[in-house]
């Protein structure tokens, strides 16, 4: 786990939001739409970037394929794993600390 955190943190903005949206299972294009909605259009995941992020997160077992019992092939859906949740928790803490430090320093 420490190794994964060390490799991936600080997360890129895209990676961070992919992990956020995958609290629920979603397919690739669904992630783009979800992030757009979540950030009120501020962040538009670029398709090529998203593909790389998904590949990377699967490689580090932070997300996994979500398989439904249903018959009939649907688009591949992903969902966050326990490892992914821990990584996200670590990152949120780090970001909170950064905001806290800015406030302490009187920057905002």
């Amino acid at each position: 786990m420490d190794k994964i955190i060390k490799t991936l943190s600080p997360l890129t903005e895209s990676t961070y939001y992919v992990l956020l949206t995958l609290q629920q299972p979603l397919h690739g294009y669904g992630i783009i739409k979800q992030v757009e909605e979540m950030t009120s259009g501020r962040l538009q995941l670029a398709a090529g970037t998203l593909y790389g992020v998904l590949q990377n997160l699967v490689k580090y077992k932070c997300i996994k394929l979500f398989s439904k019992e249903e018959v009939g092939k649907k688009k591949k859906e992903y969902v966050i794993t326990e490892t992914g949740k821990q990584l996200l928790k670590y990152e949120v803490k780090r970001l909170e600390q950064m905001v806290y430090d800015a406030k302490q320093g009187g920057a905002i």
């Binding site: 903005e13 690739g28 294009y29 670029a46 090529g48 970037t49 790389g52 688009k75």
Partner: protein, 177 residues
């Protein structure tokens, strides 16, 4: 239908993109890309934005990959290059890579593949030793010619690889800053 032949190099992607965008503004819409050849269909002038991706993947993953590009039109794949375009919207949706991390990763893939495919070429490196000539080959003239070609190819390859690694290093540096 209009066919144009032109050579663009991998580190000059922007040049190729602007050229294709210019064609589209003149009413030539890209229909098919081949090696050094571009097939256009004449139509209404359009303000398009072109983006290329370099991906090595099997057929199984390709569908999943292309599903992400629903806002883009895929022209076709040439080797490992995917040619996409869409109507320009003059905002952040006009790109397929929006951070330096993923740009760097694309150039990493490109460099690795470029290095691997050239391994057979480098197996000829032994030919650059001048004293092999007389003993090893029955046709010294042909051998001389062959040697020159190998040296030129290796030089070109090294130049390409360095160019690509240089771009990759640029994005890598931008991540760390």
């Amino acid at each position: 239908m209009v066919i144009k032949h032109k050579l663009f190099l991998a580190w000059n992607m922007k040049k190729e993109q602007s050229w294709l965008e210019e064609q589209a503004r003149n009413g030539l819409i890209l229909k098919r890309v081949g090696f050094m050849s571009y097939e256009f269909e004449e139509g209404e002038p359009q303000d398009l934005v072109f983006q290329f991706d370099f991906q090595v993947m099997n057929k199984k993953n390709e569908q999943e990959y292309l599903d992400l590009f629903q806002d883009w039109h895929l022209v076709n794949r040439v080797g490992s290059w995917y040619y996409f375009y869409k109507l320009r919207s003059n905002d952040k949706t006009d790109v397929i890579y929006n951070d330096n991390q993923s740009k760097k990763e694309m150039y990493t893939r490109l460099a690795v593949i470029l290095a691997v495919v050239a391994l057979p070429l480098y197996s000829n490196l032994i030919l650059i030793f001048p004293n092999l000539e007389e003993e090893a080959f029955a046709f010294p003239n042909f051998y001389f010619f062959f040697r020159i070609i190998v040296i030129i190819l290796i030089a070109l390859h090294m130049y390409s690889l360095l160019k690509i690694l240089y771009i990759r290093a640029f994005y890598n540096k931008s991540i760390k800053e």
